[in-house]
């Protein structure tokens, strides 16, 4: 039995311009601030019991929240913030039927403070159900919508403060920052292509050949494509912005031009594919094209870039259903 193992240590010193403060402030911080502003506008609409305005503001909140979620890396900077997004959004992180629970709460006499004890009752998913299927001028419905939106605002503010408190960790090791940023993109792109597109289009393994528009993330309000467009636009902020040193620039300095160009190409294709889609197009060829381009994006991040940049990937999260 012959066995020969050679271990070679390569020390590579590469001078690069890192993703830095401008990206952090113009993308990560700015997107959180925008989401907080949208919660405030939504609170105003709810206070006025203006259902039309509240629905419009909800759409804006979906868009701005998805932007925050797309680059959410605060949990990597401080573990205490790992779960904060789940207090805002339970898409694929919950097994319960919150609709029937919310119906019970509306119809009960219990004080809302005790009736809405679950985090899942105060998420954007619960808010969608309340705003789009219930009568907002009804006092209890209005109070529930207010409680939910204020909770979302509170968690967004916690995220904003968290980023400010722990930004030094992002700046002090740009290699670490780049690695967690890429892992965030990978995780988000996996969920985009698999959960937000594939499961609906009947192209994911779990729902192979069983397309169903009701599986879309915001099937009740019709904001699913709005969410997807926001996710893709945020990815463009990360890898293809002319305004600041972005992750695409870093990749090129790591001699990964070919790989990042492939990613940008797949992202641009995804943006084009998404732009022509309505809420009902997941189950036709448009949905299939979006699945294919986001799958290419996923592979270009994960297989090509991760490998080329020498970053260590994480085990991807499975869903909770």
């Amino acid at each position: 039995m012959r066995y020969l193992m050679a271990i070679v240590f390569l020390v590579v010193s590469i001078g690069v311009n890192a993703v830095g403060e401008k990206f952090f402030n113009q993308v990560i911080i700015a997107n959180v601030v925008s989401a907080i502003t949208n919660t405030e506008l939504l609170i105003d609409s709810i206070n006025q019991a203006n259902s039309t305005s509240a629905k419009m503001q909800f759409g804006n909140l979906v868009s701005s929240w998805k932007k925050v979620e797309t680059t959410y890396l605060l949990g990597d900077l401080n573990e205490d913030y790992l779960d904060t997004p789940r207090y805002i959004d339970i898409f694929h992180n919950n097994n319960e039927d919150i609709k029937s629970q919310l119906d019970l709460i509306i119809n009960s006499d219990d004080a809302l403070s005790s009736a809405m004890y679950k985090h899942s009752h105060k998420t954007i998913n619960a808010l969608e159900y309340i705003l789009f299927t219930k009568n907002l001028p009804h006092q209890r419905v209005k109070n529930m919508a207010l409680m939910i939106t204020k909770s979302i605002k509170s968690y967004l503010s916690e995220i904003l403060n968290g980023y400010k408190a722990h930004q030094s960790k992002f700046f002090e090791s740009e290699q670490y920052a780049s690695a967690i940023l890429l892992n965030t993109l990978v995780g988000g792109t996996y969920k985009l292509k698999e959960w937000r597109v594939g499961d609906v289009a009947g192209l994911s393994k779990k729902f192979k050949n069983r397309p169903n528009n009701h599986r879309a993330e915001y099937a009740i309000s019709g904001n699913s494509m709005n969410a997807i467009k926001a996710i893709l636009a945020t990815q463009a902020q990360v890898i293809n912005s002319p305004d600041y040193q972005d992750f695409g620039d870093i990749a090129r300095q790591f001699k990964a031009s070919k790989e990042i160009n492939q990613a940008i190409s797949a992202l641009n294709d995804s943006i084009v594919n998404a732009s022509s889609m309505s809420e009902f197009d997941f189950i036709n060829n448009k949905g299939k094209r979006l699945y294919q381009s986001t799958n290419r994006l996923m592979k270009s991040y994960y297989i090509s870039l991760m490998d080329r940049l020498g970053f260590v990937s994480k085990v991807l999260d499975a869903d909770g259903d």
Partner: protein, 433 residues
């Protein structure tokens, strides 16, 4: 534009295995796989024996329903979970328990029948719903054709409740339509614990140390008592037969079974699994199991929602033991031991710097011990996850550390010359790139 200029120094350890795997080990099987496979043999054998005892105790109970025999049956169920919980570390590795494809699916891929969860218990038997009403229209109280509901359900004749009837009903109409396995037995023995209207009120059963309180009358004077007995015996038979299938897959001395194929010794050589492929599946399976299944699905969803429905053994309040034994199963394979017996070369042995991983394991052990102690003396898991309970924060930390251990499997694999890529570290049951 402010540009930050930095110097990045990265140390890349490149491990080059010059010889091929087959040259390295010659005709001998890889020692890592030998230890892994032998632990599987021992663990599944224990699980089968414990399931047989459970089946006997259920038979005793249903033959002569008394409180004593009901308690004996419950004790047997709790005991059976101890060994089965450890076998779950063999999941998600394309092995016979839950392989998606390959010849070894002929073992029946029984995971979904053995341990499907969470289940919609109201499909099996009555519950008290969120409005305080007793539910009807379930398998137990339907004497004829039963439609399980859900997505494209197939109606089944349940006039007599047999193993084949339960197999036909299991996950018929959706994942929640669970009719078989340990948790179906658990529900039929303990009954509902959860207050569906508000689990903080706990008004169905009362108390932090109180599990489900199914009455003996359900098996004596109730109109459907005999159908419950039928159900219990049918589902216990299925558990035993499915575990017999697993034991045969991992049995020694069979040159045609899965164990032989994993070790490259199957007489039908086309069935033999390449050593590197086998190791990659094992490392990735362990990573996905510990991070995505145990940390995410079994702990995170329960504590972050929070949701009693999403604790693993919600009728018996045995969730603390499920978590303990799932983690024990992971440690068995990482350290190459089972029931204090050393099975040889361990997955962790090749890792040079074990500090981070070992620190995480020590910390997880401490938190699991604390969870167990509290579950015995002050409050069950469903009370520990309440938003205002100080223990909820500890359980969240436990979940985070388990996630970190899952990520460490990439390094453990690398130490053994195995690179894991995206196709391997996602949940293979749910996605394919």
């Amino acid at each position: 534009m402010k540009v930050q200029k930095i110097i990045i120094s990265s140390f890349l350890a490149v491990v080059v295995v010059i010889s091929t795997v087959s040259t390295f080990w010659g005709d001998e099987a890889n020692p890592l796989l030998i230890a892994y496979a032998n632990i599987a043999t021992a663990n599944y054998t224990d699980a089968l024996n414990d399931a047989k005892t459970l089946k006997e105790k259920l038979k005793d109970f249903t033959n002569s329903p008394t409180m004593v025999l009901m308690e004996n049956a419950k004790a047997a169920w709790l005991n059976a979970r101890e060994s089965y919980g450890q076998t779950e570390a063999f999941r998600l590795s394309n092995g016979p328990i839950d392989a998606e494809e390959g010849w070894h699916t002929s073992y029946g891929v029984p995971e979904g029948r053995l341990n499907a969860w969470p289940l919609d218990e109201n499909m099996i038997d009555y519950t008290i719903n969120a409005k305080g009403k007793k539910t009807t229209g379930n398998i137990i109280d339907t004497k004829g054709i039963f439609n399980p509901g859900g997505e494209s359900p197939l109606a089944i004749d349940v006039t007599t409740i047999t193993p084949s009837v339960l197999v036909a009903l299991n996950e018929n109409g959706g994942e929640a339509n669970v009719a078989t396995g340990y948790h179906a037995i658990e529900f039929l023995l303990w009954g509902q614990d959860q207050d569906y209207a508000n689990f903080m009120k706990d008004s169905v059963t009362h108390g932090a140390l109180v599990a489900g309180q199914r009455t003996l009358a359900d098996y004596t004077t109730d109109a459907n008592a005999d159908r419950r007995k039928q159900y219990l015996n049918a589902v216990a038979s299925l558990v035993v037969s499915d575990l017999e299938s697993m034991v045969s897959a991992w049995a020694d001395g069979d040159s045609a079974n899965y164990k032989a194929a994993l070790l490259g010794k199957n007489s039908d050589t086309i069935k033999n699994i390449d050593t590197k492929v086998a190791l990659r599946q094992i490392f990735s399976g362990l990573g996905v199991f510990i991070k995505s299944e145990l940390a995410n699905e079994r702990i995170a969803v329960a504590v972050l929602t929070p949701s009693e429905e999403d604790e693993h053994s919600c009728f018996s309040d045995n969730t603390h033991r499920d978590i303990t034994q799932n983690f024990q199963g992971f440690k068995n394979l990482l350290f190459g031991t089972y029931n204090s017996v050393d099975y040889g070369v361990a997955l962790i042995d090749a890792m040079k710097d074990k500090t981070k991983l070992m620190n995480l394991i020590v910390s997880v052990n401490t938190k699991i011990n604390q969870m167990n102690t509290l579950a015995q003396v002050s409050r069950h898991f469903d009370y520990q996850i309440r938003p205002n309970d100080t223990q909820a924060r500890q359980i969240k930390k436990l979940k985070n550390e388990l996630r970190a251990i899952g990520d460490q499997m990439i390094y453990v694999a690398k130490s053994n010359g195995i690179d894991l890529t995206v196709g391997y570290i996602t949940d293979a049951q749910k996605t394919k790139l």
